[in-house]
Assembly symmetry: C2
Homo-oligomer: 167 residues x 2
């Protein structure tokens, strides 16, 4: 029995999801990479940036790898929408399935690590709000990564439903 | 065309994965819930525990929800292994698919939030190692949650492959 037609998603819907994912990750990358702040201390001003925190470095890594993968998949989707053929044939369904799964988990951990760190850093400040602007922008970047993750989950559900086609 | 038999996994393999997931999460829960430490300060000893940190409270939440879901699925699996029938019929494949997906993402974020916070807290200590024992045990709990997450991903791959059967 062939899989029912309802299990597949129109190619342009998949493409729109990929493009939205890419846009979210791009804004997230710009926000976190340009996030700097200067803290006045007794021994002079201290400049802080994303690379001073492990969690934000990890966030950047997940966002960049997520963008590269999403761009690749968007290119495949454009090819599929314009020509109606899947590049590399149906065997690519497995690549989509495992790739989408891996990337969505990766983005989830990037966003979670940043949120986890930011929340506790806010608490550790103990009423002092010197870092609030810096942490606020970091939270915005993590939120956009979270949005990118949710869109990646949608792609992952699509590619799971497309799995039967590989038979 | 029926999906090839290779797409389904023997029921007892699924059960073993569920049991291993549950064991990992249980040890993780015990480690993080019993993790306390006393820090000597100028104004007397300060007792710290997991609930002082947002990230560890979130870890506990994900582990407990993960355990409840895994226990439910293990019960279904035992029923399947002993009677050969899937409780609730094939329609449950969709519940498995979305449930496994959600729980695995949930566990991933729990482990990532704890790791992110712990690494930066270690760095912020600035050579002082008062918190090292506490953070070490928290890292062990997060690692076991990560192991539980990887096993949940395996269950999720199984339930994705089982999707065609619902047609």
């Amino acid at each position: 029995m062939a899989p029912p037609p309802t299990t597949t998603v129109p190619p342009f819907v998949g493409l729109i999801v990929r493009v939205l994912t890419f846009i979210c990750l791009l804004i997230s990358l710009i926000l976190i990479a340009t996030n700097t702040d200067t803290i006045p201390t007794n021994i002079g001003d201290v400049k802080i940036k994303f690379s001073d925190f492990y969690a934000y470095r990890y966030l950047i890594a997940t966002v960049v790898i997520g963008m590269a993968y999403t761009l690749l998949q968007a290119a495949f989707s454009i090819f599929l929408v314009t020509t109606g053929n899947r590049l590399g044939g149906e065997g690519f369904c497995l690549f989509d399935f495992y790739g989408d799964k891996f990337i969505s988990y990766f983005l989830a951990t990037g966003a979670a690590a940043s949120f986890g760190m930011t929340q506790d850093l806010k608490q550790l400040q103990n009423g002092d709000d010197t870092l609030n602007k810096f942490l606020g922008i970091a939270d915005a970047a993590a939120s956009l990564c979270l949005l990118g993750f949710i869109l990646a989950v949608v792609s992952s559900v699509f590619s799971s439903y497309a799995l039967p086609k590989r038979a």
